[in-house]
Amino acid sequence: KNQVRNTLDATLNLQSFDSQLVERHNKPEVELKTSKELLLTPIVIPKSETEGVLIEPSVNSLRISIKIKQSDEIEKILTKKFTRFLCQRAEQFKILRRKPIEGYDISFLITNTNTEQMFKHKIIDFIISFLDDIDKEINDMKLAVNARARSTAENFLKNF
């Protein structure tokens, strides 16, 4: 967790940068990837073989992609539904990306307008707490699903 925080602290130094390629445009360079010199090296921070965080920084934007631990089928389905729920409300979240990057479950896109409107250390706090909570949420949901399945099966089989 500390590594992610330190990396975010070092890379979330964003400035407004007008496009070099198209006039009057001011777009997140990490999404367009048009000029190599404006992108910083992407960093992968793995927590285990199946979990990890990918951070792609650039001059005016940062993309963080998270791969959540999914050890069985139920977790896979739960993760997919949970991330889909969040991503459909990406407008409200402001820093969430509607589609995750290939190979990851959820992605955030933070641009210089976000850092101008919100405190940088608060954005970092939010991402770290999100990482902490998402594993717990998936586990809780899995337990809830199992408990519901058990109680409905019990009630059904009482008739026999």
């Binding site: 602290d9 400035q15 070099q20 006039e23 010199e37 404006l38 001059v59 101008e116 919100m118 909570d133």
Partner: protein
């Protein structure tokens, strides 16, 4: 001691003082330039709003000699504003750029100014008397990426530029139409327009984008700060010897020489830092905000939403320990004393403008010595 002004909740993109430092022109991350005046109670009031740009204003410079303000914006234009009948009237400058302008500075004698742009070009503009307009000449080679900052040498002819292709360069910007031939300088003898006099890397290794360049008061030294968290200085009097310091801090985006041997840099660490250059070496002396005290800041709506989102009790502090709550993006000199610049102003993305009194800070902060 340090004079803190919360001008607005919007980020201050850039600022510039007038000759007697009673008025400051700044831009609040939008298309207008506002001129603020301090009233009796110390509050800043907006005196004039200069509307003209159709896109974000990226650079402002107030000429202390001619009382003209030059501004440049992301709409590829620059305007020169003149005060007539207590109103500021703009004059469009033909920059002939096809990308956004990023920074602008008057030359020391204020007969010309330089504009850096995302078109990989520096535009040097001068006034042509016969046609009553501003013309420009371009410096193109060998710039390969956006020009992030420009600074003039005191001899009015040499210009330094920091670009996002990881280099700081020194050019000759001698415009023969309006100037007499300059004398040879320590930076170079061939002063043809657009001649590259020196090129320096941003830091050790690959380096980073050079956010800001600054000439020392007598012009012999050049300092630049890069995104690789480094600050470097070259001394043209000792054969362009370069001293680089890789700091263990967040990158700086602006720098200013206060004396011939001291540089103040500021950036994402939210406080100005004093560096000393001597004997071919650069070293960090101290931060100007060392006495950190928690300050209650106005909470933005978004940060409040995020706080409510966070689980767990405990005090959620929304303020940072330094005076600036967010990154500093410009340093300007406010007044000069016997040793050099003794007051500087910093503006940041938290909407604050803070004036630091270096003389009194030198007395109060241990270890802070301006050489």
């Amino acid at each position: 001691m340090t004079d803190i002004s919360q001008i607005s909740t919007f980020p201050i993109t850039c600022h510039s003082w007038n000759a007697d430092k009673s008025l400051v022109a700044l831009s609040l991350n939008d298309n207008d330039v506002r001129i603020y005046k301090r009233d009796g109670t110390g509050k800043w009031n907006c005196l004039h709003t200069l509307e003209g740009h159709s896109n974000r204003v990226t650079g402002i410079d107030w000429g202390v000699k001619n009382n003209k303000i030059v501004t440049c914006g992301a709409d590829r234009n620059a305007y020169v504003w003149q005060l007539q009948d207590n109103k500021w009237k703009p004059t469009l400058v033909l920059l002939r750029l096809n990308r956004a302008a990023t920074c602008v500075r008057w030359s020391p004698n204020e007969a010309k100014f330089a504009v850096g742009s995302a078109a990989r070009i520096i535009s040097i503009c001068y006034y042509e008397e016969e046609n009553n307009w501003w013309l420009c000449k371009h410096i193109k080679k060998p710039i390969r990426s956006t020009v992030l900052s420009v600074d003039w040498h005191p001899n009015n002819v040499i210009l330094a530029a920091g670009t996002s292709d990881y280099k700081a360069r020194v050019f000759s910007a001698y415009v023969k139409e309006i100037e007499a031939k300059p004398e040879a300088s320590t930076w170079g003898k061939k002063l043809v327009f657009g001649n590259l006099l020196a090129e320096f890397p941003a830091g050790t290794g690959n380096g980073g984008w050079v956010h800001s360049v600054s000439f020392s008061p007598n012009g012999n030294k050049l300092a630049w700060v890069g995104h690789c968290s480094s600050i470097a200085a070259a001394d043209s009097a000792s054969d362009n010897q370069v001293a680089i310091l890789d700091c263990n801090l967040l990158p700086m985006v602006t720098c200013l020489w206060v004396t011939e041997n001291s540089i103040v840099g500021a950036g994402f660490d939210c406080q100005p830092l004093l560096f000393s250059h001597g004997g071919g070496q650069l070293s960090l002396v101290a931060g100007l905000d060392s006495k950190v005290s928690s300050k209650e800041k106005t909470v933005t709506a978004m940060s409040m939403f995020k706080d409510m989102d966070k689980k767990g009790a405990g005090e959620v502090s929304t303020s940072v320990a330094t005076k600036h709550q967010s990154a500093i993006n410009e340093i300007r000199s406010v007044s000069k004393g016997s040793k050099g610049v003794n007051k500087i102003s910093t503006s940041g993305t938290d909407g604050q403008m803070i004036v630091w009194n270096l003389d009194s800070l030198e007395k109060s902060i241990e270890g802070l010595r301006i050489s």
